[in-house]
């Protein structure tokens, strides 16, 4: 049987394979660990950690849509103290690689979160979520504004030092994603996570009112995959040296390979895990077979092959 080298890297962080969980789709790992060892993953990307405990939005928080779902969770969680005391030590104990996602309500909060993570041993990389659409005020979506996006990444860079690679998670809900990517790269991002959910809405046909408690929600799942492939392709084309963690509707090895061919060095599996807890490991094995089928001895050789 042929083998394929699945190892990959995001800036100076190395990973045994390119299949990660997606932030906000695997909590901090305990739930999926019942179904497969988390060491099977290239990395476990935690949900976005906030500075303080946050309830998140009222229910209903979810609506299934054609080949997708809309969610309005609202960055809920118990906050970074609980995360550092409980969730992260547990995750590191499993031997899994941990990418910690953070989200703040202000530039200063991102700085404070970065200071809390500085010096924490065992973290592979930091994902800076500047693109969650589920916030009280859409003006808070830092990734929709070049100046705010830059300010957040600069602050995280200064506060975290050179300890971990910073991956900036961007929103596809912008006119020119390459312009935002350019800003965060200049501000010190080592890599990019593409894409966060797209802002959407469902109106309940019975009540004729928005179905979600938060009215709007983030669209994920296979419905957004072509948007992810497009965004990754555009950004990789402009910034070929900046590693991309790709995500958006990946439900099979073939989907993952599309994102890799577009320019992703690693791929997060999110919504697919909701309907199949084993999705990440299945996708990894399908991807390995497909790479062999296409004659690649190394995953790295497939990154960005759609270009040129």
């Amino acid at each position: 049987m042929s083998v394929v080298d699945l190892s990959t890297e995001l800036a100076y962080a190395k990973f045994e394979n390119p299949i990660f969980t997606a932030s906000g789709c695997a909590s901090s790992g305990k739930e999926l660990s019942q179904f497969f060892p988390l060491t099977e993953l290239g990395a476990m990307v935690t949900k976005s950690i906030m500075l303080r405990p946050r309830s998140g939005r009222a229910t209903p928080r979810m609506a299934e849509t054609p080949s997708g779902m809309l969610n309005s969770i609202g960055l809920q969680g118990p906050g970074i103290d609980h995360f550092l005391e409980d969730d992260l030590p547990w995750l590191l104990e499993t031997g899994a690689r941990a990418v910690v996602s953070i989200a703040g309500e202000s530039v200063d909060e991102y700085g404070a979160l970065a200071r809390r993570l500085r010096g924490v041993r065992g973290i592979a990389a930091i994902e800076v979520n500047i693109s969650c659409p589920n916030v009280e005020n859409r003006g808070m979506v830092f990734a929709c504004d070049p100046t705010s996006a830059r300010a957040v990444i600069e602050t995280v860079r200064i506060n975290i030092g050179g300890e971990f690679p910073i991956i900036a998670k961007l929103s596809p809900d912008v006119t020119d994603i390459c312009a935002i990517a350019g800003e965060v790269i200049n501000a010190g991002a080592d890599g990019l996570a593409l894409i966060n959910t797209l802002l959407g809405m469902v109106i309940d046909p019975k009540t004729l009112k928005p179905l979600l408690g938060g009215k709007t929600g983030g669209l994920s799942g296979p419905a957004i995959r072509p948007v992810a492939v497009r965004a990754i392709y555009q950004v990789h084309s402009r910034f070929p040296k900046v590693p991309i963690l790709g995500m958006g509707g990946v439900a099979s090895g073939s989907d993952a390979l599309q994102l890799i061919a577009a320019g992703a060095s690693a791929v997060s599996v999110g919504t697919a895990s909701f309907g199949d807890p084993l999705a990440p490991v299945r996708i990894k094995s399908e991807l390995a077979s497909l790479l062999i089928h296409h004659g690649f001895a190394r995953l790295r050789d497939a990154i960005g092959v759609a270009h040129g």
Partner: protein, 282 residues
Amino acid sequence: MPINPRATVTTARILSNRKVGAYHHIALEAGEVGKLAKPGNFIAIAVGGEYSAMPLHRAFAIYRAKADGVHASTVEIIVAAHGKGSEWLTKQSEGSQLRITGPLGTSFPLPAEPVNVAIIGGGYGSAPLFDLADHLKSRGCRVDAVIGASTSSKIFAPLDGKRTVNSVTVTTEDASAGVQGRVTDVLEELIERQKIDLIYSCGPMAMLKAVDEIAQRKQIPHLVSVEEAMACGIGICMTCVLPIRDANGTIKMSRTCIEGPVIDSECVVWSGGIPEGTWGAP
């Protein structure tokens, strides 16, 4: 404590699928899932088949589960076709295969002493209560059931289920069966008459809340099995949350798939909305 330590992902086969009133009763050959299930647990089912445009799990309370040998078991569920996914499920024929995950969630805690129990089911919410009644009876409990729905076709009270309990009172809002009214209209009288010590209820949130008002007034412990919309059933989507008070008094938007579906009603914040200072789930 590990989360869902008995859960596996299994390819199940439909053994039978038949209409029962407004519902479908589906029996599954379910690998080890049924062997490990406890009353109150649920399973999550992937719907739509290979080319499905429905990416999310559908959750179903286990109606009955039994082991059929070392690695085999049967799991039975009651399905109300109120959306595209559940409708697809009701149309699957015998022999069809389904990807199921389970057993999931909390189970009904059982009293240590033989006490007088009321089980209250709204619509197909009665499904998990008959298996519970069986366990209660084997512990020497007296079990009285109240099953309510809007109309008689939505009452789920199978004959063998009725046989396991000491009495069944049916209520319908349109008077098409049993007593006209709601479960709460007959509950207080039952509590007095049978000196009820403990209540288990399963059904729509409005019913659970109404039953809880009576349970609180009468100071009777009340365990509820809630049904919130969920995308995954395994604790990662954070959509099925309810404000629940923990042992330290902190209110958290807790996942009803992990902390529930069976919850001590005393811990649930029934007032509606999200109280000030509420935390998110882990």
